[in-house]
């Protein structure tokens, strides 16, 4: 695990030029009162970067050599999830720094509760994205995995739209009322449980896929 993490951190050095751009953009969002979006943006960037390390592994048939090193295939999947969570935490921390700086520069304009809700929801959504994207990347490779990911997310959006359109108005307003009644903590717990479920399923599918793979 340690060797894989060191390898990925070495690979991430190649993206160091991206960090100032990401931070500047996050600062720009907060400067224009888009505090919540800073969290979503940083979280998604962290997730994309973590997933991107598998395309570095894949480059020039690198997988074949990589899997001669002393780690199990299961460890490879675990490490990718761990890296994703670590980068996600780093992304959230950077977003907090940007929003914290904005709070100092324009006191009284930032709602702490709203910021916390944005951070938690962004982190949970990004964790779920990681749980969906990683098995796709392992199954199809980084190029085809990206296409598969777009198809799945487009299908998910269409499904949500269809469900909201097709639900009877009484049921639809009932769901909305239920969500409104939920306290922040309860909503966060439900969200966390859903994200954890997606990640667990993603992990199991990833392990199955990688066990079947031949290099």
């Amino acid at each position: 695990m340690k060797g894989l993490l060191v390898k990925d951190l070495c690979l991430l050095k190649n993206q160091k030029k991206l960090i100032p751009i990401v931070v500047i953009l996050a600062a720009w969002f907060t400067a224009f009162h888009m505090d919540s979006f800073a969290f979503t943006y940083m979280g998604l960037m962290a997730t994309i970067i973590a997933i991107g390390t598998s395309s570095y592994d894949e480059y020039d048939r690198g997988f074949t050599y990589l899997f001669t090193l002393p780690f199990s295939r299961k460890t490879y999947v675990r490490e990718k999830f761990l890296l994703g969570f670590l980068l996600l935490a780093a992304g959230m921390a950077l977003a907090f720094l940007c929003v914290g700086a904005a709070a100092l520069l324009r006191p009284g304009t930032i709602d702490g509760g709203e910021v916390l809700a944005a951070a938690v929801s962004s982190a949970l959504i990004c964790a779920a994205v990681l749980g969906v994207t990683l098995p796709l990347n392992i199954r199809y490779g980084s190029e085809r995995g990206r296409i598969a990911m777009f198809i799945i997310f487009a299908a998910a959006v269409l499904l949500i739209l269809a469900v909201t359109k097709l639900l009877p108005p009484s049921l639809s307003s009932g769901v909305t009322a239920f969500l409104d009644r939920l306290g922040g903590l309860a909503a966060a717990l439900i969200g966390a449980a859903l994200a954890a479920a997606v990640c667990i399923v993603g992990y199991i599918v990833s392990v199955r896929q990688i066990m079947k793979k031949e290099f």
């Binding site: 060191v6 690979l11 592994d57 480059y59 690198g62 780690f71």
Partner: protein
Amino acid sequence: MLKLTGVRKNYPGFTLDCTMEVESGRITGLIGPNGAGKTTVFKAVLGLIGTDGGAIELFGRGAGEATAEDRLMIGAVLAESGFSGYLTVGDVLRILRAFYPGFREDFFREKCEAFGLTGNKPIRDFSTGMKAKLKVLAAVSRPSRLLILDEPTAGLDVLARDRTLDLLRDYMAEDEERAILISSHISNDLESLCDDFYLISDGRIVCHEETDRLLSDYGILKPDGPALETLDRRYLLRALKEAHGCRLLTDQRRYYAENYPGLVVEKASMDDYLTLMLKGEAI
């Protein structure tokens, strides 16, 4: 140290069926034409592909029972794959240090310097020879007991090849319990390095021979027309007809040299052996 018993792997149009052994203290070569199944053998041993039958025994245990420690004991070089091209030599050092307790960092640095593998250039900008040197250095710097080397000298010039082979000899000299399984298209490399070798063709091991015996006992006979009829055929293995006569492979070169004074008798090289065994007709 490594034993393959009836290991099968089926692909459309190709089946590997391999039985061979690599003993500790020995360097074993695997020779054969392109597409014979050498890389498939290496991949099966390294667990990169599944097998459809047979057994692979590594360090006295079934391949499926290999522990994490067993995997630490293997160093591999693959012809078509290496560290990600986005990494540098320094990154490779950091990664191997993290993976292998007992990684010989000073040795690796010193040899990288000697082989001209310095600077912060990403591996993708290396020449083929530089990549090959790095792969071999990364393998011999680990605290491994078994090296699996698929074409480790491919792309190296003569001088770099000699130095690389010296590295492998030094690796073996350091510990008599170590072993190497190696393939190469350059038969000179294997002749000077291997204790024994297997010849593989169409996924099957055709024969197994000691290198010393090949070089001391095997020979190529080049009889003219009438001489061919009078030759004792008991020690002839293969015959290959050519434009100007034929070549015969024997494993009793001295017998023919002593008993047929006019006969052209030459030492057999590994290339001769491979060509005659695969293209020649059995006698």
